[in-house]
């Protein structure tokens, strides 16, 4: 069930990643509505190009740190869809044996050091990963994903500064999806662009269209090359939008239907499909096939998850300590 990407089909591979994320998120939303999921979750529908583009620019040994809205990052990094779905259903076969749920999925084998329930919580950790890479003298890179809201946390500023003074191989990827829950990004900060905040730390900042997977991948690729070459961190702002509410309890009073529809008109998947078709790299039939494959992979994952055992309550206290 690994989402292995054939190197010969690179254009379509990004499409497959985005379709897989969308299919997964839609299924997760559906399962939640059916009461099959416990707790809450944060869907990344609309933001697929960021996950697919950034993770597409990484090598197999690189690290990522994700966020509460992290399903897409995890899938784009190559996580097993079945084990992810199993975690959503709280099953023992899930990535966290049912201990973590949607907000804490980690797949250390693929360098995914975990989603995070705390806004900006992963950023200080990224500095340690970067420092470790530097001290171990490997050529790895660490990507730290976070939202626009995280850039108003002290942890963001401390981490940017540490990464800058120590020239750490970190790519700070801000998914600016316009709202920190209900707080519009324009009301939450005194600068126009989040990327401008890099200047305070002498960290190069760049803003890209986060609805364009190629633009994201190109910018992330340049930042990854800088990091790998020992030239230090980059702050990459990807301007994007979440189609769904913040979490499952969001009445969305802070935005209009028109606004949501306007962003949906720039949908990263539809747009990329159109690009590929215009280049002759994709047919409508193949596009439908890719979408159907993604849906099938999610259905198969769900079957695996549903058939998986619940964790044994006798194991409750396992793994508190190493």
């Amino acid at each position: 069930m690994k989402t292995a990407i054939p190197p010969t089909d690179r254009g379509v591979s990004r499409l497959r990643t985005m379709q897989l994320i969308r299919a997964f998120e839609e299924k997760a939303g559906e399962l939640f509505a059916l009461g099959k999921m416990h707790g809450t979750m944060h869907l990344s529908i609309g933001q697929e190009a960021v996950a697919a583009g950034v993770c597409g620019a990484l090598g197999p040994d690189d690290y990522i740190l994700s966020t509460h809205r992290g399903h897409g990052h995890c899938l784009a990094r190559g996580a097993d869809v079945g084990r992810m779905m199993a975690e959503f259903l709280g099953k023992d076969t899930g990535y966290c044996r049912g201990r973590g749920g949607s907000m804490h999925i980690a797949d250390l084998d693929s360098g995914n050091l975990g989603a995070n329930g705390i806004v900006a919580g992963g950023l200080p950790i990224a500095t340690g990963v970067g420092l470790s890479i530097t001290m171990r003298k490997t050529s790895q890179v660490c990507v730290a994903f976070f939202g626009d809201g995280a850039t108003n946390e002290g942890a963001f500023h401390e981490s940017m500064n540490l990464a800058a003074i120590w020239h750490l191989p970190i790519v700070f990827v801000c998914e600016n999806n316009q709202y920190a829950m209900s707080m519009p990004v324009t009301a939450a900060m005194g600068v126009d662009r989040i990327s401008a905040r890099g200047a305070a730390y002498n960290v190069p900042g760049e803003t890209v269209d986060g609805m364009d997977v190629r633009a994201v991948e190109a910018a992330a690729g340049a930042a990854v090359r800088r990091a790998r070459a020992g030239e230090g961190p980059t702050l990459l702002e990807c301007v994007t939008y979440r189609y769904k509410g913040h979490s499952k309890s969001d009445p969305q009073r802070y935005r209009t239907r028109d606004e949501v529809e306007a962003w949906q008109g720039r949908d990263p998947i539809t747009r990329y499909e159109a690009q590929l078709m215009a280049e002759g790299a994709l047919t409508p039939e193949r596009a439908e096939e890719v979408a159907a494959e993604a849906r099938a992979a999610v259905e198969e994952a769900l079957r695996f998850a549903e058939a998986s055992p619940e964790p044994d309550p006798a194991t409750l206290l396992e793994d508190v300590y190493a």
Binding site: R99, L108, G114, G121, P124, I125, G128, N161, D319, Y321
Partner: protein, 327 residues
Amino acid sequence: MTRSLTYAEAIREGLRQAMALDPSVFLLGEDIGVYGGAFGVTDGLLAIYGPERVRDTPISEAGLAGCAIGAALTGMRPVLEIQFMDFITLCMEQLVLQGAKVRYMFGGKARVPMVLRTPAGSGTGAAAQHSESLEAWFAHVPGLKVVAPATPVDAKGLLLASIRDDNPVIFVEHKLLYRTKGEVPEEPYTVPLGAADVKRAGSDVTVVATSVMVSRALEAAEQVSRDGVSVEVVDLRSIRPLDVDTVLASVRKTGRVVIVYEAVRTLGIGAEIAARIAESDALYHLHAPIIRLGGQECPIPYNRALERAAVPQVDDILAAVRQVVAV
């Protein structure tokens, strides 16, 4: 071979030996390099190991706590110095919500082998924001370990054990102990985490103490011994994991208990120890009510006399011991 070292020297030797034995061990913290640490503990280590492994940092406690966690998650064994335990409040999110939890949240896959060293306690006239004893806060968090050595020999051994441990360890040093001396073996050795130590054997009263209170308890024990009262002093050494068995064995023998610690008395370590006694058969061995001696219900004040009055002193321990033996 042993020789006399101060508590600070014993910790420094532990750091130096840990770094010599394991290239993944490194130090980071504010002013730990050329300055040698606010209390001089890391003095000289920069010259031996250089600025990469003895890493001076900006004043960014939250960032540094996360930095240690991230390094630990990816193959290093960082030892972070937080200059005063009070400042650890700035690290709370990273330590409590990240470092302590990632292993469990991720289903047992992650390891966070880091140590956070920090000078704690009052008695230096530094007043309310530089005198905290917050060990019980961290001992309340599953996933963390908390140790508080009372002697040079324990300080070195517990430090080496903490650095080798695969979990985040909060290593609480007491400022008033830094200059105290004791015999310390020259070679590297470990003192196990989670093992209390009977520092003085006795038969009439058990005094359970932590950190600087161990030496005060020993002094009180010496004084009352002249009146024919035999005090057993149990040094907890680790606050989490807590060695309840050693405490209960002592209580079964003596039937009288005084628990003494510097942190605020209410809802602290003393309450936990008293409850463990009350929940066990040791309760039936008690001849007198348990006494808890802890810090007063106020911030640590500046004035010398007020500061002394805010935390247990030898006379307070003496009075408590006499009270329980009088029953």
